[in-house]
């Protein structure tokens, strides 16, 4: 995905705003990713209708594992160009990766309409239908994908699985075996065949397939071990069954703790919001601290913590949080702005100037940023630049009569 997106980003760049985009690509080339993100965002600000910039931004965020930001950028592309194939494909992929099937569904439906010859689009759509229990639609889309690409692993395995789950094992088994022949090193094929064999009571072969699955990348997939336990149980191997169930429980527990952590963090953030509204900043900060332990990589949460500590005049702590937020999401003007304000409070004028200049680049329509920049430049005795910043601020937010 990455290479293609970047090529598209480069070739679609509009001349006027091509400079920051090209500079961003250069920065990307030399692995200066933070700078690249800032420049891509700058290009987006320069020309809000330029799809190449948010595409490039999404690609870079996705590479950094920040699916939320990547999706945000891709959805922006789709707002500009609802039929953008790259954005449809990438966003549906990210939704599927995060288990958000209902969000992926309309995107995949649009994708298969826009590019009816794309086998992977049909296979993905079929998988979503299958997950939602829409067997007829799933079969139709898997078959369409197979017509287009008879060697599509996703379609062969997916169709085999749908048929096996419907009890049509005569049709399913050859497909599941074919999937393994297509990709013998993919654990999914072995897992699906093993599960189908379990259903048929062919536990000896099932256990072999499932053991293969557990060694070919399925070692952290709880379902592999659940099926293994079924196979061992069918073979009367009680000790092996117990061990497989124990592994299943361990992996499931891990998954649950992660989900529960997210839920608890959301609840804590809600509580903090109520406390902020009630003016109880100290307790709100404590709640957010607890939430941060559960969601350490959440830039928004870090930003909120920075803001609260700023209000509590704990500037050192505020700076630390703002810097961490920026390291996760360097192209968000608000984070740089807040860091600039923190530095301004501590009279670290040069640092403040640097942060606010980045904020101004990323948020060229934000009057507050230019106003703060003007104040900092005044302290630095750069009167012309300060005047220019204030003028910009006034232009952006003139005082209403």
């Amino acid at each position: 995905m990455m290479g293609l997106l970047l090529v598209m980003a480069f070739w679609q760049a509009a001349p006027d705003c091509g400079k920051p985009l090209a500079a961003g690509l250069e920065a990307y080339g030399r692995k200066d990713y933070d700078q690249a993100l800032i420049l891509f965002r700058t290009a987006m600000q320069c020309d809000p209708k330029l799809v190449s910039a948010p595409l490039a931004l999404a690609n870079l965020y996705a590479e950094r594992g920040n699916d939320g930001e990547a999706l945000g950028a891709l959805l922006q592309v789709l707002r500009i160009d609802p039929k953008n194939v790259l954005a449809l494909r990438a966003s549906s992929y990210l939704y599927l990766k995060n288990g958000l099937h209902s969000q992926a569904l309309p995107l995949l439906e649009s994708l298969t309409m826009a590019v009816p010859e794309a086998a992977d689009g049909h296979a993905d759509l079929a998988a979503v239908y299958a997950a939602g229990g829409k067997r007829v639609e799933a079969e139709r889309e898997f078959k369409r994908a197979l017509e287009l690409e008879p060697k599509s692993f996703a379609a062969v395995a997916g169709l085999g699985n749908v048929l096996a789950r419907a009890g049509e094992h005569e049709a399913a088994m050859p497909l599941l075996r074919k999937a393994i022949a297509l990709q013998p090193r993919a654990y999914e094929g072995h897992f699906l065949l093993g599960s189908a064999l379990n259903r048929l009571g062919q536990f000896e072969e099932a256990s072999a397939e499932l053991e293969a699955a557990s060694k070919l990348g399925g070692e952290n997939e709880p379902q592999v071990f659940y099926q293994l336990a079924r196979a061992w149980g069918g073979l009367g191997k009680a000790t092996a069954r117990t061990a497989a169930l124990a592994r299943f429980s361990e992996l499931t527990k891990r998954e649950k703790e992660s989900v529960e952590g997210q839920r608890r963090a959301a609840a804590l953030i809600d509580e903090a919001r109520v406390q902020v509204q009630a003016g109880d900043l100290e307790n709100a900060a404590q709640r957010l601290e607890m939430a941060r332990e559960l969601k350490p990589g959440d830039a928004t949460l870090l930003f909120r913590l920075a803001g609260l500590n700023f209000d509590l005049e704990r500037y050192g702590v505020a700076r630390e949080y703002a810097q961490t937020a920026i390291s996760i999401s360097p192209a968000t003007w608000l984070y740089h702005y807040l860091l600039g304000l923190v530095d301004q409070k501590e009279k670290r004028w040069a640092d403040a100037k640097a942060s606010l200049e980045v904020a101004a680049k990323l948020g060229p329509t934000e009057a507050a940023v230019f106003n703060a920049l003007g104040e900092v430049l005044t302290e630095l005795r750069d009167q012309p630049a300060a005047a220019a910043a204030f003028e910009r601020a006034v232009k952006l937010a003139p005082v209403k009569q």
Binding site: G133, A166, G167, Q227, G234, L245, T252
Partner: protein
Amino acid sequence: MKRLAFLMFGLAAAAATGPWFVEEGLRAGLTGIFICGDAAQKNYIVETLGTGVAFLDFDHDGLLDVFAVTASRLEGFPSGQEPVNRLYRNQGHRTFEDVSRKAGVAKAGWGQGVCAGDIDNDGFVDLYVTYWGQDVLYRNRGDGTFEDVTPTGIEKRWGTGCAFVDYDRDGRLDLMVANYVDFDLKTTPRPDGPKACEWKGEKVMCGPQGLKAGLNRLWHNESAPGRIRLVDVSKQAGIELPGPRYGLSVTTLDYDRDGWPDIYVAVDSQASLMYHNQRDGTFEEVGLESGTALSEDGREQAGMGTAVADYDGDGWPDLVKTNFIDDLPNLYRNNRQGSFTEGTVMSGLGKYFQFLGWGTAFVDADNDGWPDIFMVNGHVYPGVKSGEYRQRRILYRNGGEGKFTDVSSEAGPAVMEKSSARGLAVGDYDNDGRADLLIGNMNERLSLLHNTHAAGLSLTLQLVGQRMNRSAIGAVARVRVGGRTLMGEVRSGSTFLSQSDFRLAFGLGAASAVEGVEVQWLGGAMEKIGALKAGQIVTITEGKGVTGRRNYAP
């Protein structure tokens, strides 16, 4: 010869014509409307579960009466117009009269489920009604009235399924109660509020996920003559050990046939629970190990209703469980070694994803000797685009080799009727030897499906405990016929928040008699009875053999 006749019966059943069931609730006088929240809009999960129904013979006249639970509306009702639980006395001739007030059970509140059992062993069946609020235990005085004997210590919770079970085999019925959500109306988001929950892109009520789960309770019966006393033993008995769960239906079964009743709780959105009786007053939760906690993929499901029967004729109890929409039910086949294997798809129950299942029961609807499966369905979200709120019922006919076929259409319009159904009870209310069905529908009248199928013969056994509890809950009867042994267990609770007839009905196909009956009394001896003719209700009293016979009504 008998065996041949039995085996040939499948052909006779296939040849039978006409509907299997006919709706006759209104004709029979079951006119009450049973409420659960607003009919058109569900703002809170408490409005979605519906309520339970029961077939029981409260006045001991040999005819099954009907008890039905109602909840209420969150905005309430004008004083004096509140819906109340109803008891309908069977007057014979397939008609009922409402005796709720006379019997002292016309209670308003947010009722949910019901289970029955003779808790004081006086020969009259008592009732436990669960509530979002304070559950109620009714003692049957034996004169057509009940008294509220709710013990102290039963806290206000959201009780759902319940079952009486003599888990320690001391001859007194104990009580298992599932509690769903520790629900707080004030803190739960509404669909029209800022923190609304979504389902398939539509704003809906929230829960159960995200809400605090309830804790199952086990009450030990320590009653003395004239005084009902239940003691909460949930903690020491190991019932609390799995932690809070969104528990719904409760079913008891002796799945490992060790003579000690085990308890299964269908759990919504989490792993379901199998409490294995350790014969020392404690239970070990073995849902995962027994293979009954999850789907066959190892996924947690939204378990709703449950039923138990030996559907494959191997002499071991199997389990069926209904689940949420976009999912399949589970049919767990007993492996006879302390575990189950899911056989949903292979048995023919993997056909539909569009139903949201609630009450389910094994019922031999055509009396061919193979338990069929009946399921009632209905969505929790009225008005959503992506699923029907009112859904039809399903009758799966057991073809005899562990294979089921949907015969709902053949079974008639009463089965194909759409409603948002919840509770389900099975019982032969006209004593004609054919199992009838009672269905609780959301904000509507009850459905009473009268079995009119001109199919096989049957024998009904009424077991009466002496040393064990009088309701004989936990007793197992085995009937030999045509080279097969049919099995039935007397059970409280089960299906969904409901209570079925305690009597055990055995479909015999074309066989005009059974060769023999064995009754395994809970904690007691095996009692052997000789041949019995079909077409009758036979009372077998613990230690005394056959103590009563009554031919089926014509």
